[in-house]
Symmetry: C2
Subunit: 464 residues, 2 copies
């Protein structure tokens, strides 16, 4: 009797298996998408645990030794399997963003469905693109490989986090405590996108992120604005005056020392980016905008990939329900994030920001701050052979040359792998700009899911 | 057989009756307080109707012909009764403010209770002071009068509104349509307070109110601040920059033409106010503040009584839940109110404010506005004998000379009575500065309720 596993099958057999198994792969992804694993809201803690357990079971079905490790926050899924070849670590995250405003969703965000879109079928659900759909591309590639070859392609460590959308508070302690278990030749991170929807991309530059919440208090309770208005300090006024000063008229951030460590783009990268012919009119036009609103002397691609930013992500104070309430509130608050580049130091910047706010506080006001994560920018070393393998695999699968690009988002894990495990990372993902991640009606194109699985299979074929 | 109703009883009998009936008067007030008649929130529309019906029944029990007249909003309660003497119109409102934030209430806002306070017993509930407790002082005075005399003291019209806390949209059309029914010699309005908690006060100066809601939109949906941050316009930034410019560093409002029609205080009134020896340190200290935060060249009493203001009463945009969400929102909104004095024209100011906002709008942004009421300031004529009667009655009841004062709040009804019915108004009320109207844990001192009832009985005794 022939032993199929003993004689290696050509890559085409694996790809055919992926094509044939796509409906079942979707069923599995839908199961995972149905779990509302919102990490930032404590109400969903049991759901985060459920998502972790689901992944552990799936990894065990692929032959991994897998477990959900408890942390002070949400569990960390770690799996070990396979043998030989390069030792690859794969990273993804199973937690998702909150779903509000819920009334802007066309369907229940946790009731996934295939829908017809203008550019083909899409998987509609919170987390479909960020990051459950993406992480499943890798697991499905492994499943097809194992079905054809009988074994995993090489030695593999899988690390799936449940706190990526809430600042990853447990990540660094976990990496430190499990340094030996997590050591590999290179980390593969699947949490990024295609370039301009069609070109496969390998991210080599990531912005860091500093998150701060500012709470300004004045009176010890809400006041009647008729009785106290004009006499008592209004904390909304104080907050808006401070936030209005975050940028000057040219879009430059005004926090002292903010640009310390920010470096100019090397000429070679600048030239490559010019070749990418980024269509900022389309990029903005797709969301109803037309004017680059950042630093007036920078190109749109610099604004989103290589320049630091300060953005108010949320503001609240006083009455915001229907109708009107003439209240003079006791407090006002804002959530502010900074995207960091080059060698900007998030810890120093946190202090500088707080000092800057404090210095602007008028009498009768107090301020308190809440931390929401701090990670520096990341720059990838592209010397590991995985980068060349990825370029070949992606270019073949997508029929368009793969590009080295920057990424405006913050995926601090890449920097942490370098710092705490001494390991380089490669970021490859298949999201599209219109996936509406972090927004209502998030989707993942079926094509991206399918070709994403095939891309990983090709990449593994190149590497082993 | 003696006919008690035929021979007038001395005022003391009425006052004794009030004292004796106080527990029953409280029961009646509690019944009314249990109805959550929040006029600004459409969810409470049936409760507003219920409160109106409750008052109609109570007025009928006093011998009035009473009815709840439907309006496009909440019903207007009108009652006619009594004969002879001056024809008095009494005005109050049965609607209440919203109760959020609910978690700051020590008890259910619609489950009233007598509680022991540091200065005696208080009636704790939403609306206890503003305005259900106050309006019931008048009805209870009539009830005691009727019990003793067998008749109402004079010809009376009662007008109880259900939209005072939401801009009174139906009021002017109703006054116009019922001009004949509502004609009286003078209007008595009970929706104000004591001066500095102990001195009875007659308000002769009321600020007007203009309410505006500003909605600024940029992208056609919420964006990921990593993907778009630094490039796409953030409407929170636009809103905070505009609101930050509402005042200059001296506290003066910057909307063009804002001070048109603002007059300086007459020397006589200024001198009288100086005699009031307003203790602004205590007034602010009671709510945890210490510094008058308004126009730098004005006294604290001017700031709250005779100067116009601009206050942001609510602001919201982006994510404000627990944790953090790196969203770049599609819209941001603020509720802004202006307190008006002298001859400031709310209609002209609305246009000026909107033009001022529009002129500051950067590219890719649109703005829309919602109206939330517009009423000019009011100045009372104090020539009607009711003013002298009130001074005598209040001084006797409280043992402290009654003062003519200003009021920072906006009670547009006084101006409307003058404009649409040609009728002067007198504002007398028994609230205290620490009543926390419009805030959590609203209360009305039992002493204010009790002496308020007695004050009206005395005033009626002076007038008839």
């Amino acid at each position: 009797m022939a032993d199929a596993a003993a004689s290696p099958q050509p890559l085409d057999t694996v790809l055919a298996r992926i094509d044939q198994d796509l409906p079942e792969a979707l069923d599995r992804l839908f199961d995972l998408l149905r779990i509302p694993s919102i990490s930032t809201d404590p109400a969903y803690k049991p759901d985060c645990a459920r998502a972790a357990d689901w992944l552990v079971a799936d990894l065990q079905s692929l032959g991994f030794e897998a477990a959900a490790h408890p942390t002070p926050g949400h569990p960390m899924v770690v799996a070990q399997g396979g043998a030989g070849g390069p030792h690859l670590l794969f990273y993804g995250h199973y937690d998702v963003q909150p779903v509000d405003p819920l009334d802007l969703w066309a369907r229940d965000p946790f009731d996934p469905a295939l829908e017809d879109g203008p550019k083909g079928q899409v998987i509609r659900a919170r987390g479909s693109s960020d990051d459950k759909g993406q992480l499943m591309t890798f697991l499905e590639a492994l499943r097809a490989w194992k079905a054809v070859h009988g074994t995993l392609p090489c030695r593999l460590t899988i690390l799936l986090e449940g706190e990526e959308e809430s600042g990853s508070p447990s990540l660094i302690p976990f990496l430190k405590a499990h340094q030996a278990d997590l050591q590999a030749d290179i980390a593969l991170i699947c949490d990024t996108g295609l370039f301009q929807d069609t070109s496969p991309a390998i991210v080599t530059m990531l912005r860091g992120l500093l998150g701060e919440e500012v709470v300004i208090r004045a009176a010890n309770k809400d006041l009647h604005s008729g009785m106290f208005g004009g006499l008592a300090r209004n904390p909304i006024h104080v907050l808006t005056r401070i936030l209005a000063g975050l940028h000057d008229d040219e879009g430059r951030v005004q926090v002292p020392g903010f640009y310390d460590g920010v470096t100019e783009l090397p000429d070679a990268i600048r030239a490559q980016w010019q070749n990418l012919a980024f269509d900022h009119a389309k990029f903005l036009g797709d969301v109803g905008l037309s004017i680059p609103a950042g630093e007036s002397d920078r190109t749109p691609l610099e604004m989103i990939w290589s320049r630091p930013t300060a953005e108010v992500n949320g503001i609240t104070g006083g009455y915001s329900g229907d109708g009107f309430k003439t209240v003079l509130p006791g407090e006002a608050r804002a959530k502010v994030s900074f995207r960091l580049v080059g060698a900007q130091d998030p810890v120093a910047l946190r202090k500088s920001f707080r000092d800057w706010v404090q210095a602007q506080l008028p009498g009768d006001c107090s301020v308190s701050f809440l931390e929401h994560g701090a990670s520096p920018a990341g720059h990838m070393q592209i010397t590991h052979p995985a980068f060349e393998a990825a370029r070949t695999a992606l270019t073949t699968e997508w029929g368009v040359p793969a590009a080295y690009v920057g990424c405006g988002g913050s995926i601090p894990i890449a920097g942490y792998f370098k710092t705490y495990l001494g390991m380089d990372a490669m970021l490859v993902g298949f999201g599209r700009d219109d996936d509406q991640i972090h927004s209502p009606n998030e989707k993942y194109d079926l094509e991206c899911f399918h070709k994403g699985i095939r891309s990983w299979a090709r990449l593994l074929g190149e590497l082993v």
